[in-house]
């Protein structure tokens, strides 16, 4: 049986796991993107995808449709990943010098130099990677999450506040702090572009 998004949601809310499967298959990649940017590595990100959908299944009857299902999933993912990062008390970037690293082919900054880059472009991208990774790692979990949700996911501030369980003002200031820190770290590259 094929489902549209709304029909799948309605069926899933009534306990139909086949319908939920449709939603999982449709939204997994987007949830992975968010989790990857928050955790910095693929293994943890994939675990967070599982956690997100498991929680979503348990809570799906609470989904009220005020936001889109994708946004609701992002909230769950952000919450679970913040908890995970706090419990691990660290951020695990995938970026290494390559070589022995089995994840090196998925190095997030390797792709900066994709599409047959010029040597200058490759050098600039490598420099960006070298500066971006510690800059992001230096953010607090809340700052990183708020920034990722705003900058990469395009969520409005009130949605970010809801995902983080804080008031809008606190979410806004987390974004300000994150941008300020990143700007300080990245300005040498930005001004060279």
């Amino acid at each position: 049986m094929s489902y549209g998004e709304d029909a799948a949601l309605e069926q899933a809310r009534s306990g139909d796991s086949d319908a939920f499967r449709v939603l999982v298959e449709r939204h997994s990649t987007a949830v992975f993107r968010l989790a990857y940017r928050m955790t910095g590595n693929e293994t943890d990100a994939e675990d967070m995808v599982q956690e997100t959908f498991l929680r979503a299944w348990k809570e799906i009857r609470r989904f009220d449709g005020r936001a889109s299902f994708g946004t609701w999933l992002h909230r769950i993912c952000a919450n679970r990943t913040v908890d995970f990062l706090r419990s691990r008390n660290r951020w695990q970037p995938a970026l290494t010098s390559g070589g022995d690293n089995p994840d090196a082919e998925h190095d997030p900054f390797r792709s900066l130099a994709s599409d047959e880059p010029s040597p200058e472009r490759a050098a600039q991208s490598a420099e960006a990677g070298a500066m971006l990774e510690p800059a992001i790692a230096a953010l607090s979990e809340i700052e990183r999450t708020a920034f990722v949700l705003r900058h990469y996911e395009g969520l409005p501030i009130d949605e970010i506040a809801s995902a983080l369980g804080v008031q809008a003002g606190a979410a806004r200031h987390s974004i300000f702090r994150a941008v300020r820190k990143l700007r300080r770290a990245l300005e040498p590259i930005g001004s060279a572009q």
Binding site: R13, S14, G15, S17, F20, R21, V24, E25, R26, S28, T29, F32, Y36, R37, E46, V49, Q50, F53, L54, W57, K58, E59, R61, R62, F63, D64, R66, W72, R75, N79, D83, R86, R88, H106, P108, F109, S111, L112, S114, A128, M131, L132, R150, H151, P156, L164, G165, Q167, A170, I175, F176, V179, L182, R183, L186, E187, I189, G190, S191, Q193
Partner: protein
């Protein structure tokens, strides 16, 4: 002329609502325009951070791993099965506390005839209490999350939430008393704050369930309660995983 602050510029960059005046100023002020361009250049570096591609079958793979864990069907409304799970979890927490208290207060004449409990060290009992408090906060977090994400509700759902809140009040009181006996203050104060909210939730009025949930949601947001619960629980679990068990 008042120039834009960096915060104003960030809000403009992200095209936040309420920035029309700032945008007008930017169009007229070369100094602020230069600063905004500098901000945009710095942030454009972040745009180059791409995520590793997933294969087309990624969603299917996620489902294959997930499906065995979905053995409990989702429910339209809270039912007996959910209540039993909740009660079992709460009961386990109380049992853990009983172990803690039996060891702490019953020597040299243990109330519970359980050699295993008597054999536990103070350290083990403190660890058990820390686990029980973390589990309690996890259940509180689930309830707060559900309330925070609910816009409309029915009397049945509200009644189930009320019951859970009442269970958590009882459970939390036991833990608070145990902590007070240890002389602990920070976590005790926090449990007290959580309890005040739970008491309110346990007495939410039936007459207007949606408004009652909205009021509870406002309480959660005003005190950043969900955020605090997440942090305290996370710190507890982090300490436990590092072999520390002091609350």
């Amino acid at each position: 002329m008042t120039h834009l602050t960096e915060e104003d510029q960030i809000l403009v960059y992200y095209n936040e609502p309420g920035t029309n005046n700032a945008k007008k100023h930017l169009a007229e002020c070369a100094e602020c325009k230069a600063a905004a361009d500098s901000l945009a250049r710095a942030l454009s570096v972040c745009n180059e951070w791409t995520v590793p591609e997933r294969p087309p079958e990624f969603g299917h793979d996620v489902w294959i791993r997930l499906a065995p864990q979905l053995d409990v069907p989702a429910r339209k409304a809270p039912g007996w099965h959910g209540f039993r799970l909740w009660a079992a979890a709460a009961g386990f927490a109380v049992l853990l506390l009983a172990v803690f208290l039996a060891g702490r207060y019953s020597r040299p004449t243990p109330v519970m005839d359980a050699p295993v409990m008597a054999a536990l060290s103070d350290q083990a009992r403190e660890r058990i209490l820390a686990i029980a408090v973390a589990d309690h906060l996890d259940r509180v977090q689930i309830l707060l999350t559900e309330i925070s994400n609910t816009s409309e509700t029915s009397p049945e759902v509200l009644a189930a939430d009320r019951d859970r809140a009442e269970d958590l009040v009882q459970e939390g009181r036991l833990m608070r008393q145990s902590l007070e006996a240890q002389g602990e203050s920070a976590t005790t104060s926090f449990l007290d704050e959580v309890e005040r909210f739970l008491v309110e939730a346990a007495h939410a009025p039936d007459s207007a369930p949606t408004q009652a949930v909205a009021d509870l949601r406002d309480r959660i947001e005003a005190g950043s309660l969900l955020f605090k619960v997440q942090i305290v629980e996370s710190n507890l679990r982090s300490n436990l995983s590092n072999g520390e068990h002091k609350l």
